[in-house]
């Protein structure tokens, strides 16, 4: 199953994303989709602030946009971002875990369409959005990395993911980009980290 990295963050997320994306190699092959919680009319600053530190092209998703390799896709304010086999889809369904965009919605749709190819990353944040999504990725045999709650700006969200799912690694923020790059170099999930998808 083709790989896709999905990243979720909330309070403190902008700074964390800038650290993570600055360290992503320009040749990183997999697409990356990001949900950062933000205000509903706040659609101007996030993409430029991420692009300025990142070698990969960053853009805000338009409905039914194809999921191009090596691109970084940001969920638009006040829309859920979902993954389909043919591309991204958007929705204005009610907030999930008090959030729109919701990390759970992105992660669960990534798990359903990419199965073992889904790689979830939960960064700093308050609340519990992303915990159910991380669990869904693990149930379908994907991989989940979580920022160490003890050193995150806000530890609740990564902590909730660790409590809800058998996550693969808990890492310092600075170690996440190298870990993703290593996974991509191997071209697949390493044997030791690959779970049996098991019965649904």
């Amino acid at each position: 199953m083709a790989s896709l990295v999905v990243i979720g963050c909330s309070l403190g997320g902008l700074d964390a994303l800038r650290v993570l994306l600055a360290a992503m190699p320009a040749e990183f092959p997999w697409p990356i989709a990001i949900v950062q919680h933000r205000g509903k009319n706040d659609d101007r600053l996030l993409v430029p602030l991420l692009q300025e530190v990142c070698a990969l092209p960053v853009g805000e998703v338009e409905d039914k946009q194809p999921i191009a390799l090596g691109h970084i896709f940001v969920a638009p304010a006040d829309y859920h971002l979902l993954v389909e086999p043919a591309g991204f889809a958007l929705s204005i369904d009610p907030p999930v875990s008090y959030s729109r965009p919701s990390i759970d919605v992105l992660f669960e749709s990534a798990a359903a369409s990419r199965r073992t190819g889904a790689v979830g990353v939960i960064l700093t944040g308050t609340g519990e959005d992303g915990a159910a999504g991380a669990a869904a990725i693990k149930r379908r045999g994907g991989l989940v990395l979580v920022q160490d709650p003890s050193t995150a700006t806000a530890g609740a969200m990564p902590g909730a993911a660790i409590a809800a799912a058998p996550v693969d690694r808990v890492l310092q923020l600075e170690a996440i980009a190298p870990a993703l790059a290593e996974l991509a170099r191997e071209g697949r999930l390493p044997e030791a980290l690959r779970d049996d998808p098991g019965p649904k």
């Binding site: 009319n41 338009e62 409905d63 829309y79 979902l82 929705s91 369409s113």
Partner: protein, 279 residues
Amino acid sequence: MTSTNDPADLDSLELGLLLEGLHRRHGFDLRDYSRASLSRRIERFKQQEGIASTLGLLERALREGDLWERLLRELTIHTTSMFRDPTFFLAFREKVVPLIRTYPFIRIWVAGCSTGEELYSTAIILHEEGLLDRCRLYATDLNEEVVSQAKTGVFPVSSMKESTGSYQAAGGQRPFSEYYTVRDELAILSPALSRTTIFAAHNLVSDASFNEFQMIFIRNVMIYFNRSLQDRVLRLVHGSLCRLGFVCLGRRESMRFSPHEECYEEFVPGEKLYRKVRE
């Protein structure tokens, strides 16, 4: 024929069977709806109803009319908020209203009106600009029950705080409370706002064009459709719009790659307010 053991393929097969069954039994064709949102809504519905499997849901939806009504609503409603994207409504007021003011009569179609938030937002601006009496608005949705709800103009009073803020951000100058009365936690919008509106059931997937319009609102409706259905609906919209008429899409929707892309110019860049410049 190919066969499969892949669980992802089996999920997709079950969903396909459900949609096929609903189409053949009830005449509503959801097969070209966007699958990711549809799957979420079906899962939520199964949980609410205590139904374990998608095929179990199909079996009951074939036979139980009231369950089918609830399912149709769950799968097709797309409630928005009043003055969603205030800058769009500001652009409508400042850039489009001066133009349509010169028309003797204005027909506006609010396609996929759901519970009416977009319709009433538009009507309030037209009212404030003194144009409402010269307009005929057509508010349509595929679900008759939802259309009836839109017609009542009743919303939870809890939504009025957000609506008021968005109204002001959209250039509204009056106290927003002028437009509704409150009873039992419900905000009842002034019936004068929908005086010139015709409410009707219309299915964008299967029904034809029914008039020619100077303006069509279809914001955040087609995000629930796949590309091929979007193209079909855009053809219907194109054929229903007069020359120099306006089409309004959602903030992250676009005419790009649509069959009629070259017939439209972006009238207000960034607001997805398009004008038909060629047939």
